[in-house]
Symmetry: C2
Subunit: 551 residues, 2 copies
Amino acid sequence: MPLADRVVRDLEAIFGPRRVSTRAVDLDTYARDMWPRLLLGYRAGEAVEPRPDVIVWPEHVREVVAAVKLAREHRIPIVPYGGGSGVCGGAVPVRGGITIDTKRMQALRAVHGDDMTCDVEAGLNGERFERELARRGFTFGHFPSSIYCSTVGGWVATRAAGQLSTKYGKVEDRVAGLSIVTGRGELIETDGPNRALRGPSWNQLLLGSEGTLGVITSARLRVSPAPQLRVFRGFEVDDVATGALAIRRVLQKGLRPAVVRLYDELDTLINAFGHDDVDEADAPGGLAPRPPIETGALPALPNLGVPGRQAERPREVGMIERLRDVVRGKGLKHGAMTAALGQSEMMNKLFGAVEKVARRGCRLIIGLEGARIRTEIEAALAFAELEAAGARDRGEEPGWAWLRHRYAVSYRMSPVFSGGAFVDTMEVAASWDKLMDLYHSVRDAIGRHALVMAHLSHGYADGCSIYFTFVGTTPEKDGPAAARRKYDAIWRDGLEATTRVGGTISHHHGVGLLKAPYMASEHREAMAIFQAAKTSFDPDGIMNPGKMGLR
Amino acid sequence: MPLADRVVRDLEAIFGPRRVSTRAVDLDTYARDMWPRLLLGYRAGEAVEPRPDVIVWPEHVREVVAAVKLAREHRIPIVPYGGGSGVCGGAVPVRGGITIDTKRMQALRAVHGDDMTCDVEAGLNGERFERELARRGFTFGHFPSSIYCSTVGGWVATRAAGQLSTKYGKVEDRVAGLSIVTGRGELIETDGPNRALRGPSWNQLLLGSEGTLGVITSARLRVSPAPQLRVFRGFEVDDVATGALAIRRVLQKGLRPAVVRLYDELDTLINAFGHDDVDEADAPGGLAPRPPIETGALPALPNLGVPGRQAERPREVGMIERLRDVVRGKGLKHGAMTAALGQSEMMNKLFGAVEKVARRGCRLIIGLEGARIRTEIEAALAFAELEAAGARDRGEEPGWAWLRHRYAVSYRMSPVFSGGAFVDTMEVAASWDKLMDLYHSVRDAIGRHALVMAHLSHGYADGCSIYFTFVGTTPEKDGPAAARRKYDAIWRDGLEATTRVGGTISHHHGVGLLKAPYMASEHREAMAIFQAAKTSFDPDGIMNPGKMGLR
């Protein structure tokens, strides 16, 4: 019997035949995540590869242990797989092997109300997790746009950020303990007694390891009380620099809105005005039911009013809408999209001209939630800071519109690909003193190849991330290889510009294959620490090989 | 030339003769930190040992690199040394070797106001650090009672907590990056770009490693704006359980006072009423000058008034003061102290009886600081929570008294030792659901051997630490060995009780020699991670050997 068959037989002994698959449709499915670069080839009909050799669906940690021990015995790679929503190729099985889908380990085992923690298995879907917590009066506060198709384990493995991270923190700020099956096949639990603070903390070494040290099987996470009150509001600033300073003022005063984000001029035109295509209710699973929340009964601030959607439309509405359709790949044939986007520099200039005529400035969205009185007070203080920094209050409606459509952007990517173009996002970060340098440098670098827009969405006292969205195209006749070349050039130039100004190459999308080549230059000598952990946890190098710049 | 002489000669080539010492007085000084167990022998005239073979005082990281490389070549241990204020024997050179005193690397290299971070060398004294920041309008917010005699590097190496940690966090919550010279003699810097969040974080592996992985030479730390307003206040609750619930309510509402602490009945009698012996101004260095801060002009809450010190005194004042004198070793000869404390169970009962007669309940201190409006509001909300939980407002004076005397407790230990007794503190922690179990179990365990009191001083949404103070004695004629036996029995029983109820053995004093035997049972399989890091960072085992349960 060949090795592969023997391994499959042994896996069936562990999992039973129904939780082991070598069917082609499964191998194709688990060959990829949502990394846009992979879509370029698939769209052109290229074969799906590399693929895993076999998929397994454990229901208990002891099955994971058994699978890892078996894989270790035969030196077969293992790739942990959650929701498959990653955008950096982290779940691609570059050397084949066994892909372990965690989604059948999905129990919310306990919610410890007294301590405000919960114990949850890695495979639980994000939206279901949040819904279960809401029923008990809590929230984890983690709302990535992938919430309907990502898992708790995936969040933890990649150091994910949700849209309300300014209040609730990134995932790594909320982890009290982890259970992980290492590449040695040993179960390690770091969730000892709470606040077990003697000696080094292991959690932060495991968080963000993206399957290269082991399979994360469960986590103890900190939860927060479900909010009593939400307050959302839109502001407008003259330009990105003014808006960035306004956000910095709010955060450095110690105020913690749930979200504060600033769209640059183009992102404002494309995304911050009018969401007529995808509503939250359209997303799979619908909106998670939540306990009733009052919707911000703050009095209107002076000098504003709450303009309706019509009042938001400039006279140039027709031109803007046509441009928006291009970017969203909406109602355009491949040829039209290619023609429009083929000259990216011209497109960027065209948008610049429209922006100028429209004099729209930049949209700033702020939302606060929590206990009633505190939220009202924090909102009043935050709004005062924004106005002192030159932001103009545009009323509640733009804020609520953002909240309603906050998951929509992820569902806009498909039509762009269908239209023959590609779209991706680059989330870099820097300290405040370098932030405008970062914005201009990366925008220029990407703008040479593609249409580019950006928003600031995760701010801190010491700095902020910038989320660039770019839409590019190559002539259809040049095939996927040409598209990949342009895609790679965008990333190379964008990250090179990031490094040049002293920014960091990733904020919350992880590393995967996409950013693996940049790990060494970013971490320098400290990569030795990661490599040492790798050697110790996974001496045979079977855990998600080829990722994160590890040997 | 013998090895030792050759090494000293080589060290002199690195440091120059004036920054290398083998003088007996220096070897004695650097043989110990403030671990009370060591004082038992010294008091009885035992020889000071083990001692280091040589002390060096680097002024630059390259000298640290050279010293570590030299030590590695000859397989000589290295012990990093900061202020020497540790209370767990972490700086004791159990195998001799080279002690590296970091105090001449003490530059505050930069304060990055835009990003609210600073770059500081490891050897800077805590009080000077805070004073330098205050001049620039910032605070690190870390105020351990050792602030006059501890260093930034010591804080970072031990995961220290300051008295205002509820607002500002423990040290590990404020570290953006570290520079460390590993046991291989390599300099690793983890302070890349801010919010460099791709992949695992190394900082949390190095924080709390207590010199076993390398010498921490500098840190990038997050700073906060100096507070505009401080509000301090005292409350009274019937018992510890009521007070614990009150603190939990405040913290689980998301309120973040700078400090909220609860003294049990005995600690209230001893420490929370009347501080007539040591004032802050008596401490070496005096009080750090700070920018002018308004002193909380909140209106008095209903049902209180601000009683002066006289009104605080119960009729049983004479008896209480005599008991307090015993505990403080004040004005008592060795014989009197021994007689009083010799029957610890009786003493604990005696205090219990006095408490009951005095019906004083437990003192709760709360302090808030920060931006003016937010602090006033947060204070009002916090006070309302405390009162809703049954706490009675006792006015501002007890709060300010606590603040004035917050460093005094550390300077009360000497007279106890001079009086023939010993005193130490045990800072354990647990989740809220286990906290009262922890309190009663540890109190009973220690109370069999010594007079014991406790306060809750560092709370979180998910749990709280309890800080036990115990005063014990053995007959003088039995010598230091008997005192050590009793001391060891207290720790063994206290930590055993902690583990039994699911608490953690340390909150912020570190591990050192004292708690090293408990590391394996606390971390279980996860110790493999620490051991792997140790093997990688320090393959020859020269870095602070014998500590933290590492091989």
